[in-house]
Symmetry: C2
Subunit: 511 residues, 2 copies
Amino acid sequence: MEPSRAERRAARRQQRSEIPLAKLPFQELRNPFPPLEILPPEGIEKIHNASLDLLETTGICVMDEEALSLFEKAEARVDHQSQMVWLDRGWLMETVAQAPASFTWRARNPERNVRIGGNNIALAANGGMAYASNLDVGRRRGTLEDYEAFLKLGQMCNVIHINAGELVAIQDVPSSARHLRRLLANFLYTDKAVLEAAHGRIIPQDCLEMAKIVFGDLSGDPIFGGVINVSSPLRYDGRMAGGLISYARAGQVAIVTPFISAGAMGPITVAGALTQQNAEALTGIALTQIVNPGVPVIYGNFTTPTDMKSGAPAFGTPEAAWATLVSAQLARRYNLPFRGSGSLNNSKVPDAQAAWESHWSLWPVMFAHTNFVLHSVGWLEGGLTASYEKWIIDAENLAMFFHFFKGFEISDETLALDMIAEVGPGGHHFGTSHTQARYATEFYQTTLADRLGYETWAAAGSWDTAKRAHAIWKDLLAQYEPPPLDPIFKEALIEFVEKREKELEGKNLYD
Amino acid sequence: MEPSRAERRAARRQQRSEIPLAKLPFQELRNPFPPLEILPPEGIEKIHNASLDLLETTGICVMDEEALSLFEKAEARVDHQSQMVWLDRGWLMETVAQAPASFTWRARNPERNVRIGGNNIALAANGGMAYASNLDVGRRRGTLEDYEAFLKLGQMCNVIHINAGELVAIQDVPSSARHLRRLLANFLYTDKAVLEAAHGRIIPQDCLEMAKIVFGDLSGDPIFGGVINVSSPLRYDGRMAGGLISYARAGQVAIVTPFISAGAMGPITVAGALTQQNAEALTGIALTQIVNPGVPVIYGNFTTPTDMKSGAPAFGTPEAAWATLVSAQLARRYNLPFRGSGSLNNSKVPDAQAAWESHWSLWPVMFAHTNFVLHSVGWLEGGLTASYEKWIIDAENLAMFFHFFKGFEISDETLALDMIAEVGPGGHHFGTSHTQARYATEFYQTTLADRLGYETWAAAGSWDTAKRAHAIWKDLLAQYEPPPLDPIFKEALIEFVEKREKELEGKNLYD
């Protein structure tokens, strides 16, 4: 007799329970220690003041007529011909001060709402990659199948708070339809909070239309966040300005992030690059508050050195660690939530370099009290490639931080003086009642680390980390089950997507 | 015409200057930020008090008659039959308080003396491995050739402050002669401070005899440090007690380190394991002060969870991170220098797991203000194997911390307002005078990270990190030059070693 549907579900649940990463309950990640402040307050004030000087004297270019008009109405000095804006420091500080220090990002399952701010660290999945890679097929252009697979992994592993975003470019779908296919997949495959592209004016509008189907009323806490990348140095293009205005007007979250490869898109000195970053970020943040005073907004950092040999941005470096930590200090100075990045690296394969560079991103991000961590999983190759194996490696390391920040209990029970006395000198604690009562739960349970003896490991095929990670993501995907969604919503979403695909066919979404 | 010796040397120097790791000048590593204290003072007091209760009521076993007599003379309660010692808390605190908070560890080249204490972080090479591995020959028993190769790498790369120690077991030399061959190699191949085995009474004596040849007068600051591992739980064996007494008496440094795999050699709870560790460490530290009040001594930590599936100690875990950070807090409470470990991991190969577990050791060690970091380079497989490729990977990551802790300058020059204004919106900073003046020196120079474009990388053979590290250690060894040593000393050392080898042939060094 065939197993029933319920039996198959129970079997899948049992299998999944053998993968610790899939067992972690959905929960907040908080850094209970004070943030690491590597600059004294005077240093922060110098960067702050220099960036305000820059906005008063040099100004910044905003290549969008609506944005220029908005700045003009807010009494900023604007030159429409050069598209330059100059911002008065007093006005700027008053305007930025209207943004909230923290807010709730809504998920379609309210139990998965995410708090952004304070010492809360919200982890978001990978974003913006062109290629996908895994040990089966190597590196190739991203597809919708890849996108959905990464969504499913993010749904199954609760190290991810905020799923979706442009997990990988879906290059097998026409560019005018990609946001629709992403959004449809987001609502079908995950019930967590989602990121979407805040690019131009059409994509945000479609986001909101589709969210209305699922959420009903869109007023109140935001549902979408999107990254607004400044076209550094000192320039917002129309696509980004349009996205920022659209999101802000609709009460959604702009994550304003200058991308500065120091020595290329900004000064080579970290002090100079951060000055430029701060001026650029504050401009976008101020614009959100002109559009919609009090709307949530996030101060973003993506400043990293340029590798002077290849000309490429160098990720996971000491300079990038400084930039992350100081940017968080700046964001705190303005009482704004802060965005950093989790698993940045330049490696082509999920090897030692991929892991060490990711750690050079991750520890600073954690110690900075980064409220929104993009690219927490899966990054390779300077962000060009989303790797399935790297996804699992990163998820394992994020899970370790959940455990680390919880700390350990100190009580008569855990100090265990009686047990130490009972075992005595030269004895063994393996079989004690104290150990037996705790052996399954006391320590962090690894999914991916190998601790076998050498001979056992060799006999099992001498698998390195990448091979083990490969087996794990395959197991996870085999066990995936979609979260419940009312079939009426599903139908309505599909209908909307089909209609809009036709309407948008061949269109440039950013005109 | 053949190149002259001077020309060959100049050529080697030029080659070496192309490997950034070999260019780093010898310098101190300091963490300028406050140490990360994960327990509040009350938590530290609870562990402190519990460990003193343990030493007053349960006691500790010391399997060495001289040690027992020394404790007895110091008015501790001793039972010679059971070899148990009980220590009064008031006496213990007074005795431990005699040890210095910091000291200088002398090298045979005084420019390479190392300061131990405060926020200084001294990095020591790998230690205690049975196997050596590299991509040429795989994993096999350690040899004298391996030992010398690791010494040479440590001499060439100034991320290593303290070279030598049992870098790898030299299994092609009879065990009665190994310390002699190590010591000879130490004085021939490195002029940095050295670690040696403080095991039993014969090895320390030979250390001192050989040091006399090179240093002359041995009074004053110590020349040797050695790790004293407690045979946890609650037991010092004769070999370790003998080594500790010999080193302390001669003014050398005992690094008193309980090795507790929590759940096996101590309670499974971190609070319990640290209580036991603290009792064990304080006992050895007190013994050094009985023998020689004021002699330098280091409080050591090597507490880590037991993997409940394999029974092996699990390295690079969140629990080990807690243990490191709290142990440093305990050491600071007693005003003692602190020892931790740098690159611990369970991986069999220098892959992602090896790197991430090493980072889970390294960041806590750095943020704990660890004054003496053993196993900073080369660890694999829970310490069974010293890997040449992992050595380079670890050295790269240590070098990044030298850069990170230096921080960056904030001045009108580095804030670069004029330059940002001159480049303007949408411009490029690559060719500016500001960038050109700094491009070779502003950023950390990587030895090992790959930042090539994918196609270039693929065309060059798709080398992963391990393959690149393999090429680098071979280049380094090819360029090695021994530090100057007076030929008279060299002859005397060789004569001593030959004489002692014969005397010790077939002897057990720990009787």
